[in-house]
Symmetry: C2
Subunit: 180 residues, 2 copies
DNA sequence: TTAATGTCTATCGTTTTAGTAGATTTAACG
DNA sequence: CGTTAAATCTACTAAAACGATAGACATTAA
């Protein structure tokens, strides 16, 4: 049975130019624009946090080029999750609710985008089995995704605003677990 | 200036029942349903690959409870990316295009969902700067996301169908880098 | 009281996701 | 050759998520 010969596999492109399109397009997959804005905002607050002053939404919006109204919603979420504090009224504004070294990238991302895990059944903070799952305990997809989540969480929960600010200013070494 | 007292932080819920809602809802974030189907399909083919036989789409669909027509599209993508081979016509069907130990979870996920990186500027296979990026080289978000991507890729590219099948059958040890 | 500020609620257009339907091509077999 | 069993291609659709916007409302300092 020599049928291997007639099998259709990947078309190895005869000319490479063929591969020049955007197959796979522009899927964001994971970090939403919203979470990216959140990180930028929080990072800005981190730079300011020394001078005990509150920072205006308007200022954050302008400096980071984030749509004002959209940013408002983001900041409210971060406040509800205990990452930011705010005061309303005249002289109001925002600031970080905790010291720089106690706010991680993971905290911010979870606040805006939800669990870090690629799939709910691999989440440690928001576990939920797939509706069509046959056996949660032996599922090898879940197993791999859990490992992936842990690896990612290890990075994102270990990397704090303090680290980012330090890195940005070029002072201080990068933590050991993040060596390249 | 005692303004810390009047700051609004996270509302520590007075009654815990309040927290019973689904804030954060059901965002998939990363692994799409489609990619999950793809992994299930490929895993099934991996179990069958010994007996040189081709497997019907219909059979995969039924066994894995995947909508038939949707599955077709998935298998075509996997074939185009060189993960599967197929033959049409009578006695047609699908099978893996490479040995089990040369197809990783990362391969399958990339084929269906695109780059593993949480954000394009952190992708090694599909790099692209953010349109609003001020400085790609010093961006600390990109930096963190790159580390997260690498950690995740290390897991998903290292975990192959061979590993998954071995694990499923309870024989053979889990590779060192995946020790818990 | 007023002006400056954050907060809440509702809405909206676009893109992505998940899925469906039907016509078409290919290969085996008699 | 004709039939039949398969994959494949093209087009469409409903629902959700995403990114944003608008406007009324609540709070605080001066």
């Amino acid at each position: 049975m020599q049928r291997a010969l007639s099998l259709r596999g990947a078309q190895t492109p005869v000319v490479e130019v063929v591969r020049a399109d955007f197959s796979g397009s522009d899927k964001t997959r994971m970090l939403s624009q919203k979470a990216k804005y959140a990180l930028r905002a929080v990072l800005l607050l981190a730079e300011r946090q020394e001078d005990e002053e509150l920072v205006l939404i308007a200022e954050i919006a302008e400096r980071e080029q984030i749509p004002r109204k959209f940013l408002e919603a983001i900041l409210v979420e971060l406040r509800k999750d205990g990452i930011l504090e705010s005061r309303r009224g005249k002289n109001g504004g925002y600031r970080l609710a905790r010291p720089l070294d106690r706010i991680s990238f993971g905290d911010v991302i979870r606040s805006i985008d939800g669990p870090l895990a690629p799939i709910r059944c691999a989440s440690r903070t928001q576990f939920q089995p797939c509706t069509d799952c046959q056996d949660v305990d032996t599922c090898s997809i879940r197993w791999a995704m859990t490992k992936a989540r842990d690896a990612m969480a290890n990075v994102l929960d270990g990397w704090t605003l303090a680290d980012a600010v330090r890195q940005r200013h070029g002072i201080g070494a990068i933590p050991l677990n993040f060596a390249v």
